[in-house]
Symmetry: C2
């Protein structure tokens, strides 16, 4: 039975599979990334991954509690790649900007995987490390704790939300081009100018702008806002907090 998954460091016996490959968490995650790239964001199945590994599908349950657990591990891998690619300079604004772009582009380097995982919180070590890093940048920059937390929250959720959105669009564009490209042109292409004057008037600009991500624009807006807060600090109490709309939950302590 596959009830208990043995944690990676405690793994001692590595029996080669029937087709000779020696499995590991790393190998499985990397193979999953390849399968996702080749078969699309819905194309990662236990059977297919098993075949790609040269192993029986059920073997995966010796390493992950289920496909959902594997999905979280993939997300953790993407976050880790972002963190590895990034280096601190000491200038808070530049560092945050670079880290945000690293996360965003790291996810978009694997659109199918990102579309699958970006909106999920993994709770794994590399993700926590990113959280700690962001908070460190902000607090070291001189933001008082409430502002630092507010900005941390906005920054990480903004980055992940856009990673998920952009990756979804990119993955959709790469796979299933047949079905969707058709819809783009047939539905959106020529809208009647009398019904949609503003869209018609800006059609050319839209066509040039929409294929890019809006993330850099919004990120810069947020950083501008933060800079203003730092030079001219205003208390800014907890916002009117409308109806309970829970956001992404993350690092917390009692």
């Amino acid at each position: 039975m596959a009830k208990q998954v043995v944690p990676e460091p405690a793994r001692r016996r590595r029996r080669p599979t029937r087709r000779g490959t020696v499995l590991s968490e790393r190998l499985i995650v990397h193979t999953a990334l390849r399968v996702l790239r080749e078969h699309g964001s819905t194309g990662l199945t236990a059977r297919r991954l098993g075949t790609a590994l040269g192993a029986d599908p059920s073997t995966l349950y010796r390493y992950f509690a289920g496909m959902d657990d594997l999905t979280r591990a993939i997300g953790e891998e993407l976050m880790g790649q972002a963190l590895d690619r990034w280096t601190a300079t000491g200038e808070w604004r530049a560092d945050l900007r670079a880290l945000g772009r690293a996360i965003h582009s790291s996810y978009l380097a694997h659109p199918q995987a990102a579309a699958l995982t970006a909106s999920r919180v993994t709770g794994r070590p590399r993700e926590i490390a990113v959280d700690e890093t962001i908070l460190g940048i902000l607090r070291t920059a001189g933001f008082p704790d409430p502002a630092a937390v507010r900005l941390y929250h906005a920054f990480i959720d903004l980055s992940l939300a856009f990673a998920a959105l952009d990756a979804g669009a990119l993955a959709l564009a790469e796979e299933a081009r047949a079905t969707d490209e058709e819809m783009w042109t047939s539905t959106y292409a020529q809208l009647p100018a009398e019904s949609y004057p503003h869209i018609a008037a800006t059609a050319r600009l839209l066509a040039a702008r929409m294929p890019h991500s809006a993330y850099p624009v919004v990120l810069d807006a947020l950083l501008d806002n933060a800079t203003a807060q730092l030079t001219a600090p205003r208390p800014e109490p907890t916002p009117p907090a409308g109806p309970a709309r829970p956001g992404r939950q993350s690092a917390s302590g009692s």
Copy 2:
């Protein structure tokens, strides 16, 4: 065969189902919303929806090309509800703010449905109407077309991205509480303060801030930025456009 789906307005014969209900696109979408709320974001299946409707699962294919098509219709419904709830005042900043919050809260009113649909572009009429409305607000406010398009893009993608992210978190919190709540407390709860000093130092503030959405904060940052642009317009050419990172595509024309 279910190759050709009859468009809603052309539907003439409405044969009641064996259990007496008379089907329609509206009824199916609304029932799907109910099923999603009751069974979670992965709980919408053809068989379950068929049962909820008192109809055979295959009947759905007379109304939608497949589950994916139905999903898009659900997204369109959410966007429509947002638009219905919103009214223009003529003050562009307040109008945009209200529209953004309407979209966000409309999606979060159906978290499971939103988690399923918010990152997909429907290409259906109500969605296009929202796009047209946003562009209209910005152009009427006096933004030159390039700035209007840039802001439209940032605004709509920001709103949808946060709708998806927040809805995902909210849906996850509501369903499967058994599996996930456990992970929150066990993994994130008490992190060693020596390894994660910044998280530890702000733990109380984080716990208070994270359960809310960061959307209002980021939206206001974007609107502040826009206001500044409007009063002191600067050319701001196309940003350095890094590696091709397609964003959400939308209304376009040749």
